[in-house]
């Protein structure tokens, strides 16, 4: 075991570069999907029947197609549609954001609609505009209820970055596989990768739990 770990040492910087790509991908996709999903979720809840229907079709399509297939589609088929080469990191970013935004959209819509309509009316009665009432009355309450779903969505997103290895994005799993073919010892490098992913994902799970407890306590008190 010790020997095989030493064998990995020479590949440490290579693996580290993969880890950095994984983190870059996870963070940038999380930010983009949270922003887009919030906008689309609000548009679905308050944007009228037309917006609701159109966004609904997008959400249903994404919920029926695997993340891997969306990634492969963006990398291999989309360039033909838009007549433009897409590099593998951009393709991974677009593929993950397009897929995860659908989940966030649904979470935001459900969270917003779970806040009683009387809350919105109270805001309007106080002379707030619709926009103000949504931002200052409805969203803060909805956010607390959405947190557990958003937390698990970010975990799914982080785990799914490994699928980008299918389109040659140099993220941690792909780099680990390359190392495995050089050391002839897939067991060690995959075990190390497993531990790294575990350590990446655990803080997201614990962090959202902690935030949820704090915010719900404050809301209750």
């Amino acid at each position: 075991m010790f020997d095989s770990l030493q064998g990995l040492l020479g590949h440490a910087s290579f693996l580290l570069s993969g880890l950095i790509v994984t983190i870059e991908l996870a963070v940038s996709c999380s930010i983009a999907a949270l922003i887009l999903g919030t906008l689309l979720g609000l548009a679905r809840a308050y944007g009228g029947r037309m917006a609701n229907a159109v966004i609904g079709v997008y959400v249903d399509v994404m919920r029926s197609i695997p993340q891997l297939v969306v990634l492969i589609y963006v990398y291999f088929a989309l360039p033909i549609l838009v007549q433009q080469r897409i590099d593998s990191f951009t393709a991974a970013f677009v593929g993950i954001v397009v897929w995860v935004t659908a989940i966030v959209t649904e979470a935001v819509r459900a969270g917003v609609l779970s806040v009683r309509t009387t809350q919105m009316r109270a805001g309007l009665a106080l002379g707030m505009s619709r926009r103000q009432a949504i931002r200052r009355v409805v969203l803060p309450q909805a956010l607390i209820r959405m947190l557990p779903v958003l937390g698990s969505t970010l975990i799914i997103l982080t785990k799914d970055t490994v699928l980008a290895s299918a389109i040659a994005t140099p993220e941690l799993l792909r780099q680990s596989q390359i190392v495995a073919t050089q050391t002839y010892d897939p067991f060690t490098v995959l075990t190390v990768a497993m531990i790294i992913y575990f350590l990446l994902i655990l803080p997201i799970a614990r962090g959202t739990d902690w935030l949820y407890r704090r915010l719900s306590e404050r809301a209750a008190g």
Partner: protein, 226 residues
């Protein structure tokens, strides 16, 4: 811009021709989903029971097991099993069995969490009432707690099913000929990426959409108002 539009042509025949390999792959996709769920429900129940065991060591191992499988990428788990079985146990299983093993281990960890939460959501006084009527622990579990928990367990099981169905697409990484594998194979053969991959997406849409809608319907029907 004009030439771009001219270059882009969609060959409908190539799109339609992809159906044969997709149908072949669909058999693998569907049977893997069904078999995994059949195995992962009882295994999930066992894991959930082990997590409430009287022995702290058993509890810790079961909890760690569930956490490990829930907090690492499924594809990595699959690779790990794929490589460790032959090298450490001398077991060269066919790809389908490797996939079935990997998915079963993964999904049973998620199911155990569903069962644990389902049982925990039943108020404690329900069990106390059963015990007061002279039932044994096992009777209380079987006749009072589980029937009520079932209602709360079915919706999350349904969404696990939907994710499982989609996640089977990763078996293409270990060379198992499911829909995704067959489509990517055809793609490299015909170079008609757009048509073949659109056909793949449509195939998943046709199969996956009803599943997602059934899962939604179960959520609404079985919703417990507190």
């Amino acid at each position: 811009m004009n030439s771009g539009i001219l270059n882009m042509s969609f060959d409908v025949a190539a799109f339609w021709d992809a159906r044969n390999v997709l149908l072949l792959g669909a058999g693998v996709t569907i049977s893997l989903t069904v078999l995994t769920m059949i195995l992962a429900i009882p295994l999930g129940l066992v894991l959930a029971q082990l997590r409430t065991s009287r022995f702290p060591l058993v509890q810790k191992i079961a909890t760690g097991w569930v956490e490990l499988f829930r907090s690492t990428p499924l594809l990595l788990q699959l690779f790990w099993i794929y490589y460790i079985l032959p090298s450490s146990f001398g077991l060269a299983l066919p790809a389908f069995l490797v996939a079935l093993l990997g998915f079963t281990l993964n999904v049973s960890a998620f199911n155990s969490e569903t069962f644990r939460a389902g049982v925990a959501s039943i108020p404690r006084n329900q069990a106390s009432a059963g015990l007061a009527l002279g039932m044994t622990d096992a009777q209380v579990l079987r006749r009072i707690v589980l029937p009520q928990a079932m209602r709360r367990v079915i919706p999350p099981l349904a969404s696990t099913w939907v994710s499982l169905f989609q996640n089977t697409s990763i078996v293409s990484f270990i060379g198992l000929a499911d829909m995704t594998f067959n489509a990517t194979g055809l793609r490299t053969h015909t170079f008609q990426d757009l048509e073949v991959l659109t056909a793949l997406a449509v195939a998943y849409l046709i199969l996956g959409y009803p599943q997602a809608k059934i899962a939604d319907a179960l959520y609404h029907r079985l919703r417990v108002r507190v």
